[in-house]
């Protein structure tokens, strides 16, 4: 019995080991299959992933290129815009400068004109006053001369004046020979 028992126990252990080995083998086989399948799936997935990745990469690159193009285009546009804005700014500044120059010149001209007009008016007034004063002075001198001269000339002076005048008639004497 004991031997049987031992046998049974040994057989049981052997069977168990066998079973375990069998199970192990089965599981191992299954595992191998599963691993193989998994590897295949992994490979497929990997391939798919790689393809997807490749595709994505290509798409990304294309997009990048597109973006780059757009960026370049945007750069170009912005440069042009900047140039336009700058040109517009410069034009406006130039126009404003020109306008301010013109305004300044006009203001200067106007101011000069006013100054000249004022000067001319002042000069005219001065001349007019000077003329009036001179005329008054001349009238005074002549009226005094008229009052003083007749008594101052005397008979001899009067005679001399007349004789001198008559002697000047010679140049016109020809006309008197045959008067009209």
């Amino acid at each position: 019995m004991r031997e049987l028992f031992l046998f049974a126990i040994g057989a049981s252990i052997t069977l168990s080991v066998f079973l375990i080995s069998l199970v192990e083998l089965l599981f191992t086989s299954r595992r191998h299959k599963a691993e193989k399948k998994a590897a295949a799936e992994v490979a497929a997935l990997k391939t798919a992933h790689e393809e997807t990745l490749k595709k994505l990469t290509e798409e990304s690159e294309a997009k990048l290129k597109e973006v780059e193009k757009q960026v370049k285009a945007a750069d170009t546009d912005s440069d042009k815009e900047i140039a336009d804005i700058r040109k517009e700014y410069e034009d406006k500044i130039a126009a404003l400068t020109e306008q301010s120059k013109k305004a300044l010149a006009a203001a200067k001209t106007k101011s000069k004109k006013f100054e000249e007009e004022a000067k001319a008016k002042a000069e005219e007034y001065m001349k007019s006053r000077q003329r009036e004063v001179e005329d008054d002075l001349m009238n005074l001198v002549l009226s005094v001369a008229k009052k003083v001269l007749p008594s101052g000339i005397g008979y001899a002076g009067q005679k001399t004046l007349v004789m001198e005048a008559l002697k000047e008639l010679k140049a016109e004497s020809d006309d008197t020979k045959n008067p009209a």
Binding site: L142, A145, K146, Q158, K159, L161, V162, K170, T176
Partner: protein, 181 residues
Amino acid sequence: MSLDYSLAANQVLQKFYLADQIDKLHLSLVSLLETVNQGEMELMLEQTPKTLREKVGYVKKVMEQVQSEELRMKLLEILDSGDLEFFDSKHFPDFLHAMQRRAEAIRVIKITVAIEFKDKDLHQMVSTLSTQLGRPVALEVTVDPTLIGGVIVRYGNYITDYSLRTRFTQFRSDWKQMSKQ
């Protein structure tokens, strides 16, 4: 004839220097020529019954009526010298015509002066004018004290103003013109 009528005419005309004298001379010559033309003098001088004294008296009476003092004095002077022949119809008209021609040749010059001049000075002026104008002249003198001095001479259509008044006016005008510029 003892007296040259041409010389006599010149002697008489030397005394004329005023326009009034020339006017009177013209009237006197016209009147004497009229008397001569009427033949009254000729009749009287050629009447043999009349004495020399009567003839001289008649001529003297006629000559005394002559308006021009200078002509009258000269004619009476000739008569007083006893030259009765001068007044006959052959010589006297020639003398009168000669006088008339010379009187017509005298040009009357009108002058305006500031003061009244003495006769000798007026003579001098006439002499100067005659020389200047190359013909005998007589003066018609007007006194205008406003002239101040100098003279205004009018002859024919010409007026020449040498008065101080005009000189002053001209001077004032020139002055005003100059000051305007």
